[in-house]
Structures are given as structure tokens and as C-alpha cells.
Symmetry: C2
């Protein structure tokens, strides 16, 4: 079969690999129908050192179950399923608490040992815990929005929950990539009154406004902080969604939170230390977030997608085929595309 392999920074190839197949009795074999390239895939695309073996890529996919292991009970051959970006057993202490990204017997797709979503098929471990059947046809028009539930929409929702977004609150979203845009949707959905997007790219800004952003701040650093304060009677916002991960964007996020506010961080941190922890201490700012338990949120957000109340699939502004994946990475890295969907 064909699958995407990253061999180093800027070096993504679609190549022949051994066919995905069942190994454990709890596995399912899923033939991929839709997948995506994630903003977090761009971190290794920028930084990864050269590798002879490379890493299999992709952690957002929907597909059809072709086979299941002997111990799989809930998932059936022929099901159309969504796979969250982490696989999980559904039974451990963390899965029971709804934090499936910390599953004691789970993990993440791709790398050197597992299939990735950016390929023709995937062996899915812990299929009963991991996969969510979708009650729609494989080419349903809602497919882009359904695909975002596997990561970016779930992640935007997680950021909003971690930032304690609620009715009437003031919210800032730092970074208008696909996750930040979904963060705007999530903030609006949870009742935020003011939603400030911090970004400077016209395509993202336009979409954010359609999703519910009330204000745009295109300044950076100290100027951005000043501007957000101007927009919030000098106070800062109650909730901040940090959707980038750089130390600079984290500093901005922490600096625009008002006393007693909360920062939900979902941008994968690119620095081992967090800045400005003395002012955040004196302001009693809560810092929360991490990888979103998409497995828990898919079921929560699914009705809103199916009934058309949210349209996160609009973050896909490029549709490609598997052999065009290297172009998709390049376009996203060059900010010529917000997010690319792969159709099979």
C-alpha cells in the first residue's frame, strides 16, 4: 500500500510500505477514506533531523473497517469510523475519566512502529476503545467537518474548556490556524460574548469573523498585549486559547489574561520552560490544557456537526490526493493553505 513517510525537515514522501494488517486480537483494519495534514505535522517538517527509516505520518482519519480481530466486540466490518488522534483502550482509569490521551494502554499514530493516517490503510489498536462509528455515508457532504472532530475541532474545544470559556465571557484566541479557528467556533458555541483573534493572515481572519470572532488583533508581542487591553477596558480577557506553542505566543497568551482568568494551551510547546510565571502567579491565572481527549469530544460535538450548527470543515481550504501530500505540507508550511484534506 501507499503511505506518507517523513525522512527529515522538508522531506516528505509517499511510498510503498507493507500492507496494514491485523496483529493483535483487539485490532481493526481500517481503509482510509479521508485524512488530513495537521499544523502539528509542521513541527517535524521544520525541525526533524535526517532519518534513514523515517516516520509514518498522519493522525486524523476516517475510513471503513475492513477486518476486526477476534476480541473486537463493538466495531463491525463495514462500519464507517472516525479515529481520534490518540488510540485508547476505553477502560483504563484515565479513559474512564475522559482523558483518553493518557490511556495506560494507548498511544499515538505513526512513527516507526504504527501506521499513520496519511496512508491507504491503518491497523487500529484497541479498536473498541478508539473508533467512533459514524452513521453517515462515506461521501456525505459533512465529511470535512466530521474529519475535524478527530483533532482540530476537538482541540479547539479542549482549549476553550481549559480556558473556562462560558456564557458572556471575554475570550482571546492566539493563533488563527485550523485549531485557532476551531477555537473561535468552540468559544462561540460555549456562549462567549467577545472573541478576539490574534492573527495577521487575511484568509484566517476572514474565516474567523464568519465563525464568530468579534475583534481582530494583528499586532504582536507587547503591542498585541496593549491592543487586547484596549479592547477589554484595560483588564485583559477572562479566557485565552493558546493555539500556537511558541514561547513568544505563550508569553502573549499569559500576558493578556486578566486576573483570575485562564489560559488553555493546546499548541504543542516548543520550549521546555514557561515564561512570565511570576506575573501569572500574582494574577492568579490558571494554565491548563494539553492534548485534547478527542475520543471523548467526538461524541459530544457530533450532533452539532450533523445538525449543521457548527461547520469546522470550512478550515480545509485545499483538497488533495495521497500522491499530492508533499505539496500539501509545502502549502501549509508556506501559509498558502490553512489545512489540507486528503481524499482517497
Amino acid at each position: 500500500m501507499q503511505a506518507t513517510i517523513m525522512y527529515g525537515a522538508g522531506d516528505v514522501r509517499v511510498e510503498n510500505v507493507p500492507d496494514a494488517r491485523l496483529i493483535e486480537p483487539t485490532d481493526a483494519l481500517v481503509v482510509v477514506t479521508r485524512a488530513a495534514i495537521c499544523g502539528s505535522d509542521l513541527w517535524p517538517y521544520k525541525k526533524m533531523g535526517p532519518s534513514e527509516t523515517g516516520n509514518r505520518m498522519g493522525h486524523e482519519f476516517i475510513g471503513i473497517v475492513e477486518a476486526v480481530g477476534a476480541d473486537v466486540r463493538k466495531i463491525k466490518v463495514g462500519d464507517l469510523v472516525a479515529a481520534p488522534f490518540a488510540w485508547s483502550d476505553g477502560t483504563c482509569i484515565y479513559c474512564q475519566e475522559g482523558l483518553q490521551t493518557s490511556c495506560l494502554h494507548g498511544g499515538f499514530w505513526g512513527g516507526t512502529k504504527l501506521d499513520g493516517g496519511q496512508g491507504e490503510a491503518v491497523r487500529v489498536p484497541q479498536a473498541d476503545g478508539t473508533l467512533v462509528p459514524l452513521q453517515v455515508g462515506k461521501d456525505n457532504a459533512l465529511m470535512p467537518s466530521l474529519l475535524t472532530l478527530t483533532d482540530v475541532m476537538a482541540t479547539g474545544h479542549h482549549a476553550a474548556l481549559a480556558a473556562k470559556v462560558g456564557p458572556g465571557k471575554s475570550v482571546a484566541v492566539v493563533g488563527g490556524g485550523a485549531v485557532g479557528l476551531c477555537g473561535v467556533i468552540a468559544a462561540k458555541r460555549l456562549g462567549a460574548e467577545q472573541i478576539i483573534l490574534l492573527d495577521r493572515h487575511a484568509d484566517r481572519i476572514n474565516l474567523a469573523k464568519e465563525f464568530g470572532a468579534t475583534d481582530i488583533v494583528s499586532e504582536r508581542g507587547e503591542e498585541a498585549v496593549t491592543r487586547v487591553r484596549e479592547l477589554t477596558k484595560g483588564l485583559g480577557v477572562q479566557s485565552v486559547l493558546e493555539c500556537v506553542g511558541y514561547e513568544e505566543s505563550t508569553l502573549t497568551a499569559l500576558s493578556i489574561a486578566r486576573p483570575g482568568g485562564a489560559v488553555g494551551r493546546v499548541g504543542v510547546p516548543q520550549s521546555e520552560v514557561m515564561p512570565a510565571v511570576i506575573p501569572t502567579f500574582f494574577n492568579n491565572v490558571t494554565i491548563s490544557g494539553g492534548p485534547a481527549p478527542a475520543r471523548a469530544y467526538i461524541e459530544e460535538l457530533l450532533p452539532d456537526v450533523l445538525e449543521g450548527r457548527i461547520e469546522p470543515g470550512r478550515v480545509f481550504d485545499r483538497v488533495i490526493r495521497l500522491d499530492q501530500v508533499p505539496d500539501g505540507y509545502r502549502a501549509m508550511n508556506d501559509r498558502k493553505a490553512i489545512k489540507a484534506m486528503i481524499e482517497f
Copy 2:
């Protein structure tokens, strides 16, 4: 009148200063009956550069109202009042939210412009917002416990709330000073099942056990992390109260929180950056806390003190008079005393 002034590291003196007096119409003049030396007073005692004018010290006190300004409505001459460690107007947006330490018109005691609690009398700004009348006599046997409500017991409670302590939870308290010991009381009061104290001093450990600590970890650094994991089935604890403020203790606190757990930090941070923010991200650990809104908590905790359900006053293991304050600092800094109370 006599008051405590710090002129630099290790240099604390009790000297004559101008008598405290009303200045603003919202002021009250309070004659101090009990005060205390705080663990946080030891930070400048260790580090402060030499100062010609010095800083007035003390932020925990109880006293009798001797005079009030023309605009003071609730506080009456003759009231016995407790003063939280921050003064606040009681009406601003943050006071209304119960975060009086961020009051838009408030501040902290002492320094170069305001009286401190470690003196014979204090001008109290925003008296109606700041002071809490106590319905007991000035020499009531509960006075030590009542005095802790002005800071350390409120701070331990704040750490426990920030760490999301609740019924049946596993909790670790990093640091067994007065705040950490009050954190043990707070965790027990909120229903924690397991309370692990990280400390190595026998006097603190003994008191912590009486307050409800179920386990003691005297190791440090990586060994402490290993030990806490052993005590929690390999998982780590759900709630961590960081009651020290050093980067090392913060690293320990973050490292013993289990996935989905929370760290309530109340030790004043001694480093501008926070370590280990990548693992805490992947574990979805919440970091919260800051200066406790003692003003809000005094009223919440007061019934438990008055009815004897909690006895935080036991953290005072030394009682001194005002002229002995320099000895009190020395004893606390040398860890010969947990906390000193000043009787006037």
C-alpha cells in the same frame, strides 16, 4: 510608635516610627493585638539588598479599631478586626468575583508608604472592604487560629482549591511550613483520602500527621517523585499543593501530578520561568493558584475555627513580643521555629 523595619538581608529592627493615623476618609486606624511573621517575609530576609529607608514589615494582624474616617460605614470604633494580607475596596470587579488580591484600588501592607502589621498600629485603607469584625474577645483562646485566617490558613485553603482537592482524592503537599501545614488541614477539610506531605523536618511532620497527613515523603528531587509514585499505584496524585516557591520544588510538584491532575501554587515563585512545561502539557496538568483572596476565605473558614473543627493556630510554635521580632525572624530562618506569633 514602634514598628518593624527591614533594612536588608538579615537586618530587621524594631524602631520608633511616626504614629499611624487616618489620612483618607475610607481609612480605619487599628491598634494591633496580634501579628505574625510569615514564611514569605523570609524571602527578603534572605535576599534584600541594603536600603537606607528600609521596608515596613508584616501583613498578618488582628487588632482593635481606634478611629475611622468619615466615609467608613461598616467598621466601628471598638471592633476587633482581622486584616487579610491584602487590602481591597470590596466593590471593584475583582472583589465582586472574590479575587480581592487583584482589587483595582487595593494593595499590600508595608513597604515604604504603608504601615505593616508587625507594629503597634496600622492605618488600614479601604477599611470597609478590607476588615472583618470578629465576634470574640481580644484574648480569646482561639486567637492563634483566627490570626492564621489572615494569611496562612487562607493560603493553604487557596492552594487546595486551586489543586481541585475534593472527596476521595489523592493529594500531595510540597513543603511543610506553616502554609503547607494549613494545606494539609485544608485538604483534609475538603475530603481528601490520601494526603502525602513532602518535608524532612520532624516538628513539621509530627504536626502534619496530627492535621491529617497519611504519608510522609522525606526524599527530594527525582527520589521524591519515585516515592510519591510508589504511594499512588504508579500514577501520581490528583492534587498537588506547591507551598514553597523554588524552581526545584515547583519541578517536583509538577512531576508528581498525575495526568489530568492539578497543581495549586501558593509559594511565591523565586524563578521567572516554570520548568517541565512539556511533560505537564502532555499530561494535561492544570497549574493554578497565586496570592489567596484571604478576604473571601476568612468568612468561609471562620465557623470552622470558632467551632473547633480546625486548629490552624497550632502552626505557631513560638510566641514573642514586638521587641523580639528580630529573634523571631532568625528562629524561623534557621528552622528553629515553624511560625512566630507576636503578642502586644
